[in-house]
């Protein structure tokens, strides 16, 4: 092996293996191994593709998911959310015309694409995985290169099975520390943004490394990588290891037998070489990290649960931004965040609606009740997660406590299916974006872990899950 070969980052290994050609305009064509579509953006791309009389090059590597516009009400059909029906029908018809495997509304494996793809083994370490959704980066938790794309890029991938990109720079975020009980990957990602901001990742692909990243359970890695786009980077990933290989083994779409053994041998070579050079590195010290929560309207406006809302003694530009966030959120500097009354809790989304998330929330909810006047929802990340949770009796735990227990979909993350909060409602949400108006007009979103969301639902105000955990013991 030559010296240059021994200095490759994981990103470069995946990129170089997928390099197809350089276009006339200088951008590189990168092959897309798996392409997962969804009902919100695929219909438009199907229409454009057909107008140009083009075909889907590899329908066998393409999968369709109904997730963004689907209702969550038990017993739903495509008309339960009347606005969603046109999207779901167009998705069904387009997928059928192009012979793409569709996980339709009634499919026992339907769900949010970023949750379903890992479950089914449609995500492979070292593979490129494109979705016309910014949270495509989620699958980096399994060592794949997730690439979120727009609708024109989606059409391009359908026609060519490649995406034209400029090679991003490489960033490594070193995470050190051991997470205490009640502190999660979600808290780590919020902590990262509190430290480096919401645009530090622009132009980069991010590798998460360090003892903390390596110790994260697989589903927690998916949560961490999910939030990468919120730092401005299109891709984020963790080197795959035995925990990932164990998670993937025997999944429906995984290779079997000799092919599995051969794949495994290649996947073990994916990690960045020890002396690989990164264009940018951040060290995030997570020793003693407490649960985090956003207080404002972007994810960098995050504090620890024991913290006080930040003061305005800063430069004029920052001050203006903080004041605006305070006005929207109906909060004031200096006060503790704990104890802030809430009206709604949402546990769901591609960020935090896998089995481990629901189990952690249910453990705190069990035998307790949602605080009077609080609307609390659990929307499983996939129909498979829902089924498993029901087999474990978690649905009863949530229902008995007064939670809504719904069918799977993106739901209140962006409200694309009609699930929204009311103006000025304060919501603790396990989703990924606390932007103004995202969960409904005037809705005040606080992003947090499932544990913090569950504890807050019980308390009726922003609450520390560790207090409840202590009582539970």
């Amino acid at each position: 092996m030559s010296k240059t070969q021994s200095r490759k980052t994981m990103f470069d290994k995946i990129w170089d293996a997928h390099y197809v050609a350089t276009r006339l305009d200088g951008r590189e064509l990168i092959y897309v191994d798996r392409h997962v579509l969804h009902d919100l953006h695929a219909p438009h791309a199907f229409e454009k593709l057909e107008q140009a009389s083009r075909n889907v090059r590899r329908p066998d590597l393409t999968f369709s998911m109904q997730d963004h516009t689907v209702a969550t009400k038990p017993g739903r059909d495509e008309n339960t959310n009347p606005d969603g029906a046109q999207f779901q029908r167009a998705m069904r018809e387009g997928s059928n015309r192009h012979k793409i495997r569709l996980f339709d509304l009634t499919d026992p494996e339907q769900g949010i694409s970023h949750v379903v793809a890992p479950e089914l083994g449609l995500v492979l370490p070292g593979a490129t995985h494109a979705v016309p959704d910014s949270h495509a980066c989620t699958v980096g938790g399994l060592g794949a290169l997730g690439i979120g794309c727009g609708t024109s890029e989606l059409e391009h991938i359908l026609a060519t099975q490649t995406i034209a990109l400029k090679r991003p720079k490489r960033m490594r975020i070193n995470l050190e520390g051991v997470l205490a009980p009640g502190v999660t990957a979600k808290d780590v990602s919020l902590k990262i943004m509190a430290q480096i901001g919401v645009s530090a990742g622009r132009g980069y692909a991010i590798e998460y490394a360090g003892a903390l990243a390596r110790a994260l359970p697989v589903e927690a890695r998916l949560t961490l990588c999910n939030m990468t786009i919120e730092m401005g980077a299109r891709s984020g990933f963790i080197a795959p290891d035995d925990a990932v290989f164990h998670y993937l083994a025997e999944r429906p779409y995984m290779p079997r037998g000799k092919k599995w053994e051969a794949a495994l041998a290649q996947w073990r070579m994916l990690a960045s070489d020890e002396d690989a050079i990164f264009d940018k590195e951040f060290d995030i010290d997570c020793r003693g990290l407490e649960p985090q929560i956003t207080w404002g309207t972007d994810q960098s406006q995050t504090i620890g649960l024991s913290g006080a809302l930040p003061a305005l003694d800063t430069d004029a530009d920052t001050r203006l931004k903080l004041e605006r966030a305070y006005a929207y959120m109906g909060l004031a500097p200096g006060k503790p965040i704990l104890g802030t009354p809430i009206e709604r809790v949402f546990i769901g989304s591609c960020t935090n609606a896998r089995m481990s998330d629901l189990r952690a929330a249910a453990a705190l909810v069990k035998g307790r009740s949602v605080f009077a006047g609080v609307t609390a929802m659990v929307v499983p990340g996939s129909t498979s997660v829902k089924r498993q949770a029901e087999a474990e009796g978690l649905d009863r735990v949530f229902l008995d406590a007064g939670f809504f227990w719904g069918e799977s979909g993106c739901s209140m993350c962006a409200g694309g299916n009609g699930d929204r909060g009311r103006p000025q409602e304060r919501v603790v949400s396990t989703t990924n974006r606390n932007f103004e108006g995202r969960q409904g007009k005037g809705v005040r979103t606080h992003l947090a872990s499932p544990e913090t969301a569950a504890a807050s639902a019980i308390a009726g105000h922003i609450a520390d899950p560790r207090a409840l955990m202590a009582e539970t013991k």
């Binding site: 997928h18 197809v20 050609a21 276009r23 006339l24 305009d25 200088g26 064509l29 092959y31 798996r34 953006h41 219909p43 438009h44 140009a52 083009r54 090059r57 066998d60 590597l61 516009t69 606005d83 046109q86 026992p108 494996e109 492979l124 070292g126 593979a127 959704d133 979120g148 794309c149 727009g150 024109s152 026609a159 060519t160 490649t162 034209a164 400029k166 991003p168 645009s199 622009r202 132009g203 786009i229 401005g232 299109r234 025997e250 999944r251 429906p252 779409y253 995984m254 092919k259 051969a262 794949a263 972007d298 530009d317 931004k321 498979s384 409200g415 694309g416 974006r433 932007f435 007009k441």
Partner: protein, 214 residues
């Protein structure tokens, strides 16, 4: 794709950092496959809490009724991948954005649609923003991609940088998919190579007996 060479028109300044796609193109309460992208444009920012138009908002002022250039701060277009956040600008007639910086995905979505994304360094941006505010929509600015200059009232011409390949794409209005399809042989060769080297990548088949209920 529509080519971009030069434009003359009104510049409107919305000078905040981290403007996200949920602000530019909020998900409408009533969803449609063919939404009204003009109505969607900064829907919430332009309205009072009761949904009536805020006449004082810069986007609702008569001199900015038909803008061509949008001027904003750092990290413009962060958030989701929705291309509607570019289409809504185009529906308003905006085909050039001048920002201190832009989100990667948003910038790519601009290029895909013939919208010129210009990123100006802080001091240059600050001076330009002041000129745009002073012009207040009463005099046009001119953007020329051939000479890479912005000109207009209140000062000297401003030269901007843009990657040569992005410039070519916009100037020639190239069919992006058509350009890639010229590489069909290389794509087929990659697939052939990978079928031998890592066959699991080229085959996404379900193992027998793994269907639910099987």
């Amino acid at each position: 794709m529509q080519a971009f060479t030069r434009l003359s028109g009104v510049a409107v300044a919305f000078l905040e950092d981290d403007i996200n796609t949920d602000q530019i193109a909020p998900i409408p309460t009533k969803r449609s496959l063919k939404p009204d992208y003009r109505e969607m444009f900064f829907y919430r920012a332009r309205r009072h809490a009761d949904d009536s138009l805020d006449a004082a908002h810069i986007f609702n002022q008569p001199q900015f009724a038909a803008p061509s250039i949008l001027v904003s701060g750092k990290n413009f277009g962060c958030g989701s991948s929705r291309e509607g956040a570019v289409w809504t600008l185009m529906a308003m007639g905006i085909t050039c954005i001048v920002a201190r910086s832009m989100a990667d995905l948003y910038r790519e979505n601009c290029l895909q649609n013939g919208v010129l994304p210009i990123e100006l360094p802080g001091d240059v941006a600050q001076a330009f923003e002041a000129r745009v505010l002073a012009a207040d929509g009463r005099a046009p600015f001119h953007v020329d991609l051939v000479t890479q200059t912005i000109s207009g009232p209140g000062g000297e011409d401003i030269t901007f940088d843009i990657a040569a390949n992005d410039r070519t794409r916009l100037l020639e209005g190239l069919d992006d998919i058509g350009m890639s399809l010229k590489q069909s042989d290389a794509i087929a060769a990659w697939e052939e190579k990978m079928r031998a080297q890592s066959p699991w990548l080229q085959s996404a088949t379900r193992a027998p007996g793994t269907e639910p209920g099987a």
